[in-house]
Symmetry: none
Subunit: 207 residues, 4 copies
DNA sequence: GATGAATGAGGATTCATTCAT
DNA sequence: TATGAATGAATCCTCATTCAT
């Protein structure tokens, strides 16, 4: 009717992009509503497709959910792992630099949402948890452990319980994520929190 | 427990306790299934009452949910707060003793379940989050802050960022909780994790 | 509004009668539409109940279907079987009397509808077929065989292939049923058909 | 068959044959699933064509269904009718020979499947029933009637109710068809059944 | 002509909530 | 109070049909 608005055919064929578009819309809806309260129809609407098309690409709501979770397994973890192995920085510089940067980033990234979904639904989707463990958590923890071990070998760090508990490094990141998810509006300087942990940690393990 | 009444539902049928019995059953079901997937009928069955009676005490499923969350606001926090104010231990002794004990306890307690529920449902129930904030989190954080401040006043601690970030103390507790919720079967020595944090922390803040 | 029409509460509790009412309505709908085209909602409407109540008594549409089929397994077959065993009539009198009467009745009875449903859906519900076989067909055929054998023992009949093929007796009944189901409006004197078969049969087997 | 084109769909892709290929595939699917449960997509797959092409030849699923039913109206009936009119056999020889052969064949032929489909769906497709009546049933019955009449004229047969009830001849064929459709695995010597009927019949009508 | 991606109405099933008893 | 039969809105999923390519 309005020539300034070019006619959008309702019927578009874009096989290539559909799955990702749907996955992205589903990510939003699952993030907002949780698995059970998310409606497939809303996912379809946000993706700009029909309900039926969603089912063409994902056989069930559950399969869509799994696809969403897996799609967020970012390359970033791999990037961190590689950085750990190839960095020319001193151990302290690396921790205060790239590692801290990574930690600060996570609570604002989709990873936080996925963690939320895993907390809520993990018990009903053990295979998803396995997947996340193997592709994200396990890798990350191993990298951190290896890095601290290397610091010890190099004489930069002394050997402490942290070598076997890389979770110590990540604990404030975890708290920051949860904080954002629950208490979003209550202020918390998450960056400062992580910086403080790093300060404490380095003071503790430095040779 | 009462051998004269075998094969009875878990909870006894004493009028005055009914709401609590229902609340306890509901806690279990919400914990296992999450809010949306929990069925009121199952709650009633576990409580040994009829579906209708549940609605006599709780107008809606949502109200029941809120009652559940609130019911878990343990006295323990108040106990901790009071202990902080009345202890005759040195600051370090208190931290390594009662505070650490408290932290180790939480991830195994119903509080962890409530946190899980808040993570999943909090966004849809801001008043619940407010309630939890005011009655649990805020109190606990304030108590810890005050306690560390007092340590500084007494000359036991130096002033650090931790004074304004009591979350530093609680971060490993948080990670332990989440770990249990998601990765239950993967081993993590959560006690050791929290002990290490306390070691690091005390080394960091001791005068 | 109209005081002459007594107020019908929409909410009636009649636990005792519901299953049968639903089953009867379902019989009608399945008979008219077939299994797949029958809508559970229509069944509920005809039964005067809500859709949900149907699912309270029958977990799935398929279970409802099976209940319908089984509900039609009339006592009549048992009655025939007993009549065969206790009659004081001569064999010919019994065949021309009660047996012919039974055969004439079947094509107009619900049994015909059930046969129709079994023809259409039997392949997808082998347990239903088994059930019908054991409770209806097998019993009826055995009774007829036994009866003819007895006629031979008594010297009324000679031994023929019919002793082992009681289906010979029932064939016109079967054709009549199918005829009614498909060609309802084309006239066929089904009674005459069955009478003729009996005439032929008796002429054939009489000693 | 053609070793140069292995792993091809069942039906070859020759333009002119397409409708028939689709019809044949559809016959299979309708036979297995019934009308409602048959999916057009499966028909297309079995025919080795796309879903869209099916709709090019058949406007709707219903039209496809009708085409299937009509396609099975075998020439065989016409052949029988002609045989009846031109045979040089005596009436008894013809009945015991070609007619009995025809009857034995039908329960194993596609006609049985069509009968099944008509039983299930006939009520919703009266025009199909009309078609079948006119082109198959009516012709066949008329031929049989005429043949028996001729036997009477020739002095081979006496006049009986069978002259106006050719269904007597076909009843065991009908029962055999239904038996196969429902009780496939339960043994029944259908050939013997039809032979016995013919024996009985001839004994009954022979002059 | 062919394809198969895309649509959307339709129908089975669930479950919070109500209410006659 | 207490029960659980009854309701019906909500939601997943299917599949005949359309249409851009």
């Amino acid at each position: 009717m309005d020539s300034r608005v070019p006619h959008q055919p309702k019927y578009q064929r874009r096989k290539e992009d559909r799955p990702q578009e749907i996955t992205e819309a589903a990510f939003e809806v699952f993030a907002e509503k949780g698995y059970a309260a998310a409606r497939v129809e809303e996912v379809a609407q946000r993706a700009g497709v029909s309900k039926g098309l969603t089912y063409l690409y994902f056989k069930t709501k559950e399969e869509l959910f799994k696809a969403v979770v897996k799609s967020v397994v970012v390359r970033r973890v791999d990037a961190l792992v590689e950085a750990v192995d190839t960095t020319e920085l001193s151990s302290e510089e690396f921790i205060r630099g790239p590692l801290l940067e990574f930690m600060k980033h996570v609570p604002n990234s989709p990873i936080a949402i996925v963690i939320k979904l895993l907390i809520a639904e993990g018990a009903r989707h053990p295979d998803l948890v396995d997947y996340y463990w193997e592709n994200v958590v396990s890798k990350g923890l191993t990298a951190i452990s290896r890095f601290i071990d290397r610091g010890v070998e190099r004489g930069e760090f002394r050997k402490t319980a942290v070598n076997d508990l890389p979770q110590v490094v990540l604990a404030p990141m975890m708290l920051s994520m949860i904080w954002r998810l629950i208490f979003a509006k209550r202020e918390l300087d998450t960056d400062k929190l992580m910086e403080t942990q790093i300060d404490m940690l380095l003071a503790w393990i430095k040779a």
